[in-house]
């Protein structure tokens, strides 16, 4: 499914649209972590965003982009967790229904959060086909508007607002790195960054067990089927068509990291930043640790995407 990419102006408009509802998350740093890689690292703490993840930005922009007529019928999505939660919270800010299709096996803490936010959870089999079918079925039955987790212009624009804030808070950056799952965040951030300054180098971090973006860019055609094998539950989605196009246009350099590298990086972030971040978020620091020669001496923004962790089953 190809959808139009947002323009820089759409991201600026999204920032204004979500401002009454979203948190301006802090940017933190650690002399210890800087020393490990000989670079200046600025961590954008989206784990402190409403709902505990950057996803609220895109969902909120989508919900408040609807006409009153559309909004009345509610919204629907499928999500392994954070986007579903975000959509439920965003829908609540407008007083409308949110239907969330969730595959069996999703992290328990995330399911509870969706229900607590007032979302209506619909279970389905843990395949991409099953969740898309279920979402389509609900859409037909209720007239709810589909808000895809990443293949959605409004969602990409909302996620891009992360970089507008980070740029303002950091006072300039040489490079920015985000995790890559479906590509909503990475595409929105790349468009935002190059709207601000063409010289910013964009990087993405992808688990080696779900490296479809890296492979798609390398072979020049989108991988359209794969079975993810990674602990990074937020990064198992297939890269979207338009999202991939944005990564290509903006020359996003994708670095793949093993789950072992990511878990080690996650522990370092907890220890030194004193932040609870989920495993998917740690891919960005794992990538810098792995390819430190690329980042040495530079001022780098890292997007920490979320903090929704089951504290009883930590991966180390």
């Amino acid at each position: 499914m190809s959808v139009p990419l947002p323009a820089f102006e759409d991201i600026q408009n999204a920032a204004a649209r979500i401002a009454p509802h979203s948190v301006v998350t802090p940017v933190l740093s650690s002399a210890m972590l800087d020393g490990m890689v000989n670079a200046q690292l600025l961590f954008k703490c989206e784990n402190l965003q409403r709902g505990g993840a950057f996803k609220f930005r895109g969902a909120c922009n989508a919900v408040w982009s609807l006409t009153d007529e559309e909004a009345k019928r509610g919204v629907v999505t499928h999500s392994s967790g954070n986007h579903g939660n975000a959509l439920a919270m965003a829908a609540a800010t407008r007083g409308i229904a949110a239907h969330v299709v969730v595959p069996e096996g999703a992290v328990r803490a995330k399911l509870e959060a969706i229900e607590q936010a007032g979302g209506i959870v619909h279970r389905c089999a843990p395949t991409i086909a099953a969740r898309e079918a279920k979402a389509a079925q609900i859409q037909q039955a209720t007239g709810a508007v589909m808000v895809h987790p990443y293949a959605d212009t409004r969602v990409m624009a909302g996620q891009g607002t992360t970089v507008l804030e980070l740029w303002r808070q950091s006072g300039g950056l040489d490079a920015i790195i985000t995790p890559i799952g479906g590509g909503g965040l990475s595409s929105g951030c790349a468009i935002a960054a190059h709207g601000l300054a063409l010289a910013i180098q964009m990087y993405g971090a992808e688990p080696s067990g779900a490296a479809d973006a890296a492979e798609s860019l390398a072979r020049g055609a989108r991988v359209d089927h794969f079975v993810p094998d990674t602990v990074c539950d937020g990064l198992r989605a297939l890269i979207g068509e338009s999202n991939l196009e944005a990564l290509r246009e903006h020359r996003v350099n994708v670095i793949t990291v093993s789950d072992e590298e990511t878990i080690a990086a996650m522990k370092l972030l907890w220890q030194h930043l004193k932040l609870v971040v989920e495993v998917s978020s740690a891919t960005v620091f794992a990538a810098i640790l792995k390819q430190r020669e690329l980042f040495a001496g530079r001022r780098v923004g890292l997007v920490l995407t979320g903090g929704n962790v089951d504290l009883d089953t930590l991966p180390w």
Copy 2:
């Protein structure tokens, strides 16, 4: 050992003295936690302070209060961890030696941090007498200036700067609660708060297994011997004489909490604030959960004191 209490002006001077070295830590909040207790909670994140604890404020004020002549001989202290680390880091900002006496059985992560900061670690038996003797011995041998963890005017003044910042960041508060160990933080914060506004109600949280401040205030005389029995390793010290005097003068209301209540509160803070805080820090939220009628409908500042946790031995 009785030492003069700092005046409000000393705390203001301390703030100027430490500003080039310390972090203005963020104040965070969570709608979920607010909802649990029907109050507005503003968490002052000293786990994000340099060295991962508020202790850097007091240590830094002490180190930079020394004359050049005094500074040359270095500083010495005894500490179960965070103050030692803080003093080592503060000494490093002035290029002087820091001797830290550490009792056997202290948290491993904290010892490593002291050495990494350039401090010289001296081990001793895990009794208050043993660590005071060892520190006196080093002081005699080297001429180093003693910087007591809490019974020190400069240290109390430094800790009080936490409240100056919190007040400015929060735009006004009805009440403030800090953990109570030796009383450096609670006394400094009480003096700072009432220098700002006499109407602020001050609270302290103490583990029931180290409730010497509560008992001392109740019986009108300082408990001068007890055997602490609590997981809160940062709160096992005996309340200082002057510190106790400050608590009495400023009518600090001490709430005691069980380790079980504190550990449950700690987990809630990790889950909803997405912050790594150590168990001692969680006493403040445990106290509010326990006595919620005291805080309902009010705007309350909570000082989260530190985030130095051994991630391999979490208490739940």
